[in-house]
């Protein structure tokens, strides 16, 4: 029962839903077809139609089955575990306890702060990475000497493993004695800040933002290249200065890629784990514990598989709510054809 697994469920269950929708639409077509054919088509056409449909379903079934097993089995196991008393320290009686695990998880001291921290983390990293991403993308869009190298360097943090970057930030940058930040603070005569004890969540947000700004830059930078130069020229002739061009031309052009960035980042930011594990270990107290980390502590520090499973399912529900809201908010913008 490892945490990242259960937290990867939001995506899995989403695609599961898609699959279901797909299957429903196929079956509805099949259900609809006889009605069409009784009025007009000869039976041979109808038979062929049915045969084609059957072949289609046969071709589809292996992947549907694999996906179903892939998702349904772990999901079923998680649901089962969440309903029994199952602690690895007390092997033996795994009796059925109903929703007790859920009750304990939701009333756990860590739950409220875990949920709030998740919100804070996702919200602020999204805000920082989108704003910085837009500004950097617009800046880098202008021609200057060495632009190619700058672009590569801007994107490179994205390729560093979360664990490694968290370690680099912890030991080389934010360390209160030997860190670069501390050296800068001392250079200006200020007292170095012990980031992980004074602003633990802020420090985590800083690290995660550093990792995700490149992603926003990458997407938005490429989007900038498809901005019609003649539109900018037209706006200039219409009397728009750089700021008005940015507001009226560039930002609307970037609306869609920004939506993509927000959607994708949200999915990944909900399950941030390595950065917290490597730097603060969720502390001090519950100050940097998000839901993913809370589930981890339940499962692998307290060995309470039942409670961790219920936590995982609660996280799935929360992630699905977030996904639903996001798709309602932004998805419409994405499917809009232009």
């Amino acid at each position: 029962m490892e945490t990242p697994r259960s937290l990867s469920f939001p995506r899995a269950s989403l695609s599961n839903k898609d699959k279901r929708a797909n299957r429903m639409s196929t079956s509805s077509i099949r259900a609809g077809s006889p009605a069409v054919h009784t009025t007009s088509g000869p039976s041979s056409v109808q038979g062929e139609h049915r045969r084609k449909n059957r072949i289609g379903l046969a071709m589809l079934s292996p992947s549907v089955l694999v996906l179903l097993i892939w998702m349904a089995v772990p999901l079923a196991m998680t649901i089962y575990f969440s309903l029994i008393r199952y602690n690895l320290l007390y092997p033996g009686d795994n009796e059925f306890v109903g929703l007790e695990n859920y009750y304990y998880f939701l009333t756990d001291a860590g739950f409220t702060s875990g949920a709030l921290n998740t919100l804070w983390l996702v919200g602020s990293v999204l805000l920082i990475s989108v704003i910085a991403g837009v500004l950097i993308a617009v800046l880098v869009d202008n021609a200057f000497w060495g632009r190619g190298i700058v672009r590569v360097m801007l994107i490179s943090p994205f390729f560093i493993m979360p664990t490694v970057s968290a370690l680099v930030w912890k030991n080389l940058l934010l360390h209160p004695v030997s860190g670069v930040f501390a050296a800068v603070w001392r250079f200006f005569g200020a007292t170095p800040i012990d980031w992980f004890s004074e602003y633990p969540l802020g420090a985590i947000i800083m690290i995660v933002s550093w990792q995700w700004i490149p992603f926003a830059v990458l997407i938005l930078m490429t989007a900038m290249q498809s901005l019609d130069q003649e539109q900018k020229d037209a706006a200039r002739l219409d009397g728009a200065g750089p700021i008005n061009v940015f507001i009226h031309i560039t930002l609307p052009h970037l609306a869609r890629p920004i939506a993509v960035v927000v959607m994708i980042e949200t999915i990944f930011l909900l399950s941030i784990f390595a950065e917290i594990f490597t730097t603060t270990g969720g502390g001090p107290g519950y100050e940097t514990t998000n839901l993913a980390f809370l589930i981890y502590t339940q499962a692998l520090l307290q060995f309470d598989v039942g409670m961790a499973s219920s936590g995982g399912l609660i996280a799935v529900v929360i992630a699905n709510i977030a996904a639903f809201l996001l798709i309602r908010m932004i998805g419409k913008n994405l499917t809009d054809k232009s």
Partner: protein
């Protein structure tokens, strides 16, 4: 009043001279067309006038006010772009009012102007649509409307019809001509399509390699091209050029021997030519006739024939390998590979000296160099 004067304008881009010293006067209410092959600098010249490119040297005046270094928006010009460059997320109304909105014009005045422009362009019922819901021709009209709303002194068009299909292009061409009449405005129009140039322009400016080759009315360019480039560029199909040698020259006539055989005498001022000098004879397809092979000194082989219905264009090859295009009647049935004779209309032939400069024809208007 809106006179545009361009004086000795140059544009250097990464060490490459794109506009090599252009002088041009554009008068009030004139429809001026810049035409030339791709890469001749016509679009660059338009962008220099618009202020979208920085001028390297020289100056531009609009009504005696120097606008060379003025911001594009302050020049009293409006431009219609090749891609229309409509703002995709704004409605047609907002697209058209954008410049006025930015300038902080009174709301009622904006509405008035937008509605007026929409009426002229028949866009009334489309004002609340987004550009993506419009057809190509409608987008084109919105782009023009955006220019009209600003009531500029000069309209600039950058190949505005090149993205439209052939039928729509003809229709928009007529509408542009009508618009020019209606607005009575000065318009500068860039195109590589000489049909647009010939049909729309009061004045055509032929550009080549960053220089002006000739300025004149469409018919002036057609009848009196100043050099071989203009002669070859104006007119479809292209004028044919035949190598020849001067046999005798006097102030009233020039006699020559074509490399492919025949000898002709043209009524031109030959005082600048020397006997034996190499010259080029230019003949348009419409000024040459197919005759019976036996009695013509100019014998050619028929290569390809294109039947257009009203006319048949015959592509023929002379004995020297030079090719000519001949316009024949629509019912002309050539046998491919046949030998036929040609009879050029000598009064309408053009003669160019070794440098490709035209020998002036009688009646030619004086060219301001």
């Amino acid at each position: 009043m809106s006179d545009l004067k361009i004086r000795n304008l140059k544009k250097v881009f990464e060490g490459l001279e794109i506009i090599k010293g252009v002088n041009l006067d554009i008068n009030d209410h004139e429809f001026v067309v810049f035409v030339g092959p791709s890469g001749c600098g016509k679009s660059t010249l338009l962008r220099l006038i618009a202020g979208l490119e920085e001028v390297t040297s020289g100056s531009i005046y609009l009504d005696d006010r120097e606008i060379t270094d003025l911001a594009p928006a302050k020049r009293d010009l409006a431009m219609v772009f090749q891609s229309y460059a409509l703002y995709p997320h704004k409605t047609v109304r907002k697209n058209m009012s954008f410049a006025l909105d930015l300038a902080g014009v009174d709301k009622a005045v904006i509405d008035q102007k937008v509605n007026d422009a929409a009426r002229i362009l028949e866009l009334d019922h489309l004002l609340d649509r987004k550009p993506k819901a419009l057809s190509g021709g409608q987008r084109q009209r919105v782009a023009i409307g955006r220019a009209i709303v600003r009531q500029p002194k000069v309209f600039l068009f950058d190949e505005p019809l090149s993205n439209l299909d052939a039928a729509l292009r003809v229709q928009m061409r007529l509408e542009l001509a009508r618009l020019h009449q209606e607005l009575n405005a000065t318009m500068i129009y860039v195109t590589h399509d000489q049909v647009e140039a010939m049909t729309l322009a009061d004045k055509v400016v032929v550009l080549n390699g960053g220089r002006i080759e000739q300025v004149g009315s469409p018919l002036e360019l057609y009848h009196y091209p100043v050099n071989q480039f203009v002669a070859g560029f104006i007119g479809t199909p292209k004028m044919a050029f035949l190598k020849a040698r001067v046999k005798g020259a006097s102030p009233h006539s020039v006699s020559l021997t074509l490399e492919c055989g025949p000898e002709y005498t043209l009524e031109l001022d030959g005082s600048q030519l020397n006997v034996g000098e190499e010259v080029t004879l230019g003949v348009r397809p419409e000024h040459i006739q197919v005759t019976q092979s036996a009695d013509s000194p100019f014998k050619v082989h028929l290569d390809v024939a294109e039947h257009l219905g009203a006319d048949t264009y015959c592509y023929v090859k002379a004995s020297t390998g030079e090719t000519l295009t001949v316009r024949a009647p629509g019912d002309f049935e050539p046998g491919l590979g046949d030998q036929v004779g040609l009879q050029p209309d000598l009064a309408r032939c053009h003669l160019f000296d070794g440098q490709g400069v035209a020998i002036p024809k009688p009646g030619a208007p004086a060219q301001a160099a």
